[in-house]
């Protein structure tokens, strides 16, 4: 569905991604792992167009999207849950959700969203910025879902969320993948979560994809080598 | 140096808040210079204008005066509008011994051997105006409304003294009101004026309100129904240029006091107005009092240069006193020893076509008096720049010349 083809990325002069390659298979959850600062977030930002890439290609459903402006990408069906939540602090919860309704699939916030995250219904009128950290994280996921995406990109979605909801998020993702045919690209540090819900993994180190495969093949040796200190 | 063109510095703001008033003076000067060059120039040399724009910034007037005199070596400067801009230039002009012709009515209380004041001193505008109000209209109560700066303050102080001491107006029959520059909300003040004017005595407003604030002022007067026949307003700073920015329909009958109106019916004026409209390629272009002042000032300077046979500043200063040139209202203006000129005073009523109609004029011209007779500090002072006196502030009681450096320098020069 999405293939990241040898992309190079620079922050100013510093080379962050080095010919990074990654295939995200349709209707699967691909989990990206890697130590802090190796470039996971940068890779996702590159996919979303938030940082420019110098070399390589991004193919979404076979079309090259690397030249498209950011706002065209969600229109193709890519939803993004960024690291650090990035909710709109002064918009109410409901308004935060409504921002995703602009691309025309639906005019109302799908009921389903409030079903998935009941706390958001409760907090509907509150400013996004006033929510607790975990509530914000739920809002960010819910917001991405209002886009009714085909590919959902999540950057450490469990961060700061209470355990039962993390589990719930995992289940929701699974259901969306299995029932609705969603594809998920997930960056996650927590191995148990990854192991339980992902289909495939990719290990990033220093801006390169150093290992990938089905999640079952993620060995402790690999973990020690690339996620250890 | 005597071969090249004669340089005329033009120092009027073409941008900023003063551009509204001063731009036309620049254009007028260019026109006068062009006309003079067509007539063969001066002393057989062409006149060359040097235009600069101080951008309504007072220190900039000083800087550019210095530039004109020191760098561009101009022979004379025509410029400034506000008193503060003149005050800023004054030390420079004196230091570098230049000539400055200042065309706007002002508060007086100044005299410089390098400056020629072709606009009205208070006695050439303010005093005759209240005389008209009292003698012709029977006004008994006065509102002195002005923008809060030195000219209105001084003019009003003089008027207050004059009204009380000379005309016997009581204290409670004078209301004084000051507003900031560009004041645009006149609701309260007009209501107050109305209130003040409704106590059974004929009332008039003497307005020294400056430029931009006038439009909203008159609009408010009209809308609150203050008619010229109820409470006439006589203005010292509203001329044809200002009226061209106001819908004058509702203002008909309000007054202004000036030394010139465009509507004055003389051949010289018709010619001047025609020339101006042709020059600006706008047959609705209007003329006004400061333009006449520059016209007179320019002609006086030409005359003086001719008389002196040189543009040398000292020679011209010497020659110009006593020079008499026609003004545009059918009479003559003479340069007095105090560097002020003689002027007739007209009272005009605003018409709905944006012109004034003269309803009264002084029987003869009035000589400008820079040291007001109605202020205690200056009533004993006179100014006379002729040799051997050469003093701008001679105290006639003590017969001593106060401290202008120019005077001291002149004394020193004499002593040498």
């Amino acid at each position: 569905m999405l293939s990241i083809d040898k992309i190079d990325q620079f922050y100013g002069e510093s080379h962050t991604l080095w010919g990074l390659e990654l295939e995200v298979a349709q209707r699967q959850c691909t989990c990206v792992l890697g130590r802090n600062g190796v470039g996971k977030t940068t890779m996702l930002k590159a996919v979303m167009g938030e940082v420019p890439i110098r070399g390589g290609k991004l193919l979404f459903d076979g079309t090259d999207i690397s030249r498209l402006p950011i706002e065209a990408r969600p229109r193709l069906g890519i939803g993004y849950v960024p690291q650090g939540r990035q909710i709109f602090p002064l918009l109410s919860v409901e308004e935060n959700l409504r921002t995703g309704l602009g691309i025309g699939r639906s005019k109302r916030i799908p009921e389903r969203i409030y079903e998935l995250f009941p706390v958001l219904l409760e907090m509907r009128g509150r400013r996004g910025g006033d929510l607790s950290g975990g509530q914000q994280q739920q809002l960010a996921i819910a917001r991405a879902l209002t886009l009714a995406p085909r590919l959902l990109i999540l950057d450490e979605p469990g961060e700061g969320i209470q355990p039962n909801i993390v589990t719930e998020i995992g289940r929701v993702l699974r259901r969306l993948i299995d029932e609705d045919g969603l594809t998920v690209l997930l960056v996650e540090q927590k191995l148990p979560f990854a192991r339980r819900y992902a289909d495939r993994f990719a290990l990033i180190d220093r801006g390169r994809n150093v290992a990938e495969g089905p999640i079952e093949s993620l060995s402790d040796e690999l973990v020690a080598r690339h996620l250890g200190i | 140096q005597d071969q090249g063109p004669i340089k005329v510095g033009i120092l009027h703001s073409l941008s900023g808040t003063m551009a509204i008033s001063e731009t036309v003076l620049k254009d007028e000067m260019l026109m006068l210079i062009e006309q003079q060059n067509e007539r063969g120039g001066l002393l057989g040399r062409q006149l060359q204008p040097v235009v600069v724009d101080p951008g309504s910034n007072w220190p900039m007037y000083a800087e550019q005066a210095r530039q004109l005199l020191a760098q561009d070596q101009v022979d004379v400067i025509f410029g400034a509008w506000t008193s503060v801009s003149r005050k800023a230039m004054l030390p420079v002009v004196e230091e570098l011994n230049g000539l400055l012709f200042y065309p706007v009515q002002y508060e007086g209380e100044e005299s410089s051997q390098n400056v020629f004041y072709t606009g009205a001193a208070p006695n050439q505008q303010a005093i005759p105006a209240v005389d008209y109000l009292i003698d012709e209209l029977g006004i008994e109560r006065f509102v002195l409304a002005g923008t809060d700066y030195v000219y209105p303050r001084t003019a009003n102080r003089i008027l207050e003294a004059y009204l009380k001491d000379e005309r016997g107006i009581a204290d409670e029959d004078i209301m004084i009101n000051y507003t900031p520059f560009g004041h645009s909300d006149w609701q309260n003040i007009v209501a107050q004026i109305q209130q003040f004017g409704s106590q059974g005595k004929p009332t008039a407003v003497v307005s020294t309100i400056n430029g931009d604030a006038n439009v909203p002022f008159y609009l408010e007067l009209a809308n609150q129904g203050v008619d010229a026949s109820d409470i006439p307003v006589i203005a010292f700073s509203v001329g044809e240029q200002e009226l061209s920015g106001i819908d004058t329909g509702p203002l008909v009958g309000h007054l202004a006091a000036w030394n010139y109106f465009q509507s004055i019916d003389t051949d010289a004026n018709a010619e001047f107005v025609d020339a101006w409209q042709a020059y600006t390629q706008d047959d609705a272009a209007v003329t006004n009092d400061p333009m006449e002042a520059h016209y007179i000032g320019f002609n006086m300077w030409l005359e003086a240069v001719r008389k002196a046979g040189t543009t040398d500043v000292d020679a011209v200063k010497e020659a110009i006193i006593g020079v008499t040139v026609p003004n545009l209202s059918g009479g003559y203006a003479a340069m007095m020893p105090n560097h002020h000129i003689t002027k007739p005073v007209f009272i005009g009523e605003i018409q709905d076509d944006g012109q004034f109609q003269v309803v009264w004029e002084t029987p003869s011209t009035v000589a400008g008096d820079e040291w007001s007779d109605f202020l205690p500090g200056s009533r004993d002072l006179i100014s006379d720049w002729r040799a051997p006196l050469r003093c701008g502030n001679l105290n006639v009681q003590t017969m001593s010349c106060g401290g202008s450096t120019a005077a001291q320098e002149a004394e020193a020069a004499l002593a040498e």
């Binding site: 167009g49 709109f88 602009g102 | 509204i20 059974g200 931009d212 006038n214 061209s244 920015g245």
Partner: protein
């Protein structure tokens, strides 16, 4: 003949010259009508109107009014309006209007049409203030015997406060034959003042509660009169008037404040969008206002004689012009400064200089005159003694409409949501599929367009000139910030309250100190509420 007492005459400001002129003319009118004087030669009468000094004309007016000639009213009215003009061949004509290059004219003497005459060929008969007063009095007196009851009523009302003994007896006579009730009432009222002067206590009843100044003066005098009954009644009536006047003053003050406030709101509301919501420090905001004002002027040039229509058309046109300039500004400059709000200050400052100078060179450095349409001029009497100026009433109404419309756009439309999302987190908004640059463009255009609307309104209140924008930029920023950045209600409340505070202070301390006091008030208030009247509250805003 005995003149009526002087102070009676001071209805709304005393006028000696008016008194003399009116009185003289009334005398003649009355004498003329009573004596049925044989009609002198109309041509000579007319001739005398057009020649001689102001004094000569004054006499001529009296003779015309007294002559009983049927054309007298027409002549005098034309003379008052400046429509009585002298044609090149020395005949006096009456022209249909005074504006335009060539004027429709008819002969004054017999009304025969004369076709159009070049304006340059005509000279209007000059009049001055004294003559104007005299003419109005003469016309009103003539109107007392007009056909149309409405005209008679207006004339009677117009004579209130100017009635002397002779006129009083004339009016008494008219009252006899008058059938129309409303005209009778007006005549009765007109007579009340002279009756009071003559010690008629019952007249006080007719005058009770009137806020007319002449009444107040007359009652004040009556209250000091020797007649105890009279004095007491007058005193009581005066007290009543005073109380009413007090309330009126209070209401008037409130109106002044609200009206000044709505000007501030109008000027600031566009900035509340471009600066408050979008975060662009738009120093050219004032110039966008100016462009709106110039659009009004331009339309009035294109539609001569229809200032009202031009003003109405200027509302959409002013919006469009400023919005277009806003679009150019956004596309050309501001777009490149995303995320660098302080740089927008530098760039838009430059743009503001350019726009000002552009107007100076392309149009004129002078102010332009924008005509106030008939229906916006003058004032309406809402209750006796309280008149509100119409132009300001309209501007208040307009401000309210603009505010509500804008509020609706920002609250209820998708654009409102999107612009807030974009300004709060641009990258994320784009990741939600929002076309950020289009949103910026539309919003900036909206804010600019609203500035243009402010300009249209301001052209009816103040001068239209190249630097007019400068007068509003500082105030606008102050209002937006005082209200709390990003909050339209804040802008509204801030503008109105600053207006009210200013106008409330002004009579106490004068305009200059009032302005200083308002600034100090803002400084102090911000100490209490460091984020304005309506702060963005909560965690997010604290950052």
């Amino acid at each position: 003949m005995k003149l009526f007492p002087l102070p009676l005459f001071a209805s709304s400001g005393a006028r000696l010259f008016a008194l003399l002129g009116l009185c003289a003319c009334l005398m003649v009118v009355i004498l003329g009508q009573q004596a049925h004087a044989q009609s002198p030669d109309d041509a000579a009468l007319l001739e005398s109107l057009g020649t001689g000094s102001f004094n000569d004309k004054s006499e001529a007016i009296n003779s015309v009014a007294a002559s009983g000639t049927p054309r007298a009213g027409e002549w005098l009215e034309a003379m008052l309006d400046g429509r009585l003009q002298l044609a090149g061949d020395g005949t006096l004509v009456i022209v249909a209007s005074t504006s335009g290059r060539s004027l429709e004219a008819r002969a004054a003497l017999d009304g025969a049409p004369m076709g159009t005459i070049e304006r340059r060929e005509l000279r209007r008969i000059p009049i001055n203030n004294a003559l104007r007063v005299q003419l109005r009095g003469a016309i009103a007196t003539l109107d007392l015997s007009a056909e149309d009851p409405a005209v008679r009523r207006a004339a009677a009302a117009g004579l209130f406060g100017r009635v002397d003994d002779d006129l009083a007896s004339l009016i008494e006579a008219r009252l006899e034959g008058e059938e129309d009730e409303s005209v009778r009432a007006a005549l009765e009222r007109a007579l009340a003042l002279p009756r009071l002067e003559h010690g008629d206590v019952t007249a006080i009843e007719a005058l009770r509660g009137s806020q007319d100044n002449a009444v107040r003066l007359a009652l004040t005098r009556a209250a000091q009169s020797g007649d105890a009954q009279m004095a007491a009644a007058a005193q009581q009536a005066l007290g009543e008037i005073e109380r009413r006047a007090e309330i009126n003053r209070w209401l008037q003050q409130l109106f002044f404040g609200l009206s000044m406030g709505s000007v501030l709101v109008l000027a600031a509301i566009g900035l509340a969008i471009t600066f408050g919501v979008m975060g662009v420090i738009n120093m050219a905001h004032g110039e966008l206002i100016m462009l709106g004002a110039y659009t009004t002027w331009m339309l009035q040039q294109w539609l001569p004689g229809q200032p009202g229509l031009a003003v109405l058309l200027a509302i959409p046109a002013g919006f469009l012009v400023s919005a277009l300039v806003g679009i150019v500004l956004e596309r050309g400059v501001i777009r490149y400064l995303k995320g660098r709000p302080l740089e927008t200050l530098l760039a838009t400052f430059g743009v503001s200089l350019i726009l000002q100078q552009l107007v100076r060179t392309m149009i004129s450095p002078q102010n332009r005159s924008v005509v106030t349409p008939e229906w916006m001029s003058g004032s309406v009497m809402v209750i006796d003694g309280l008149s509100l100026t119409l132009n300001r009433l309209y501007v208040m109404l307009f401000a309210a409409l603009v505010f509500l419309a804008l509020l609706a756009v920002m609250r209820a439309t998708r654009l409102g949501l999107e612009v807030r999302a974009v300004t709060q987190n641009r990258a994320m908004a784009r990741a939600m599929g929002i076309r950020a640059s289009r949103v910026d463009l539309l919003t900036f255009a909206l804010g600019s367009g609203v500035a243009g609307l402010a300009g249209v309104a301001l052209s009816q209140l103040t001068n239209v000139g190249p630097s007019m924008g400068q007068n509003y930029i500082i105030d606008s920023f102050m209002v937006v910030v005082f209200g709390g950045v990003g909050n339209l209600w804040g802008t509204l409340v801030a503008g109105l309250s600053l207006g009210i505070v200013n106008q409330w202070l002004e009579p106490w301390v004068g305009a200059v100190l009032a302005k200083i006091a308002v600034l100090v008030f803002i400084i102090l208030f911000i100490q209490k509420r460091p984020r304005g009247l309506f702060p963005q509250k909560g965690r997010a805003a604290e950052g």
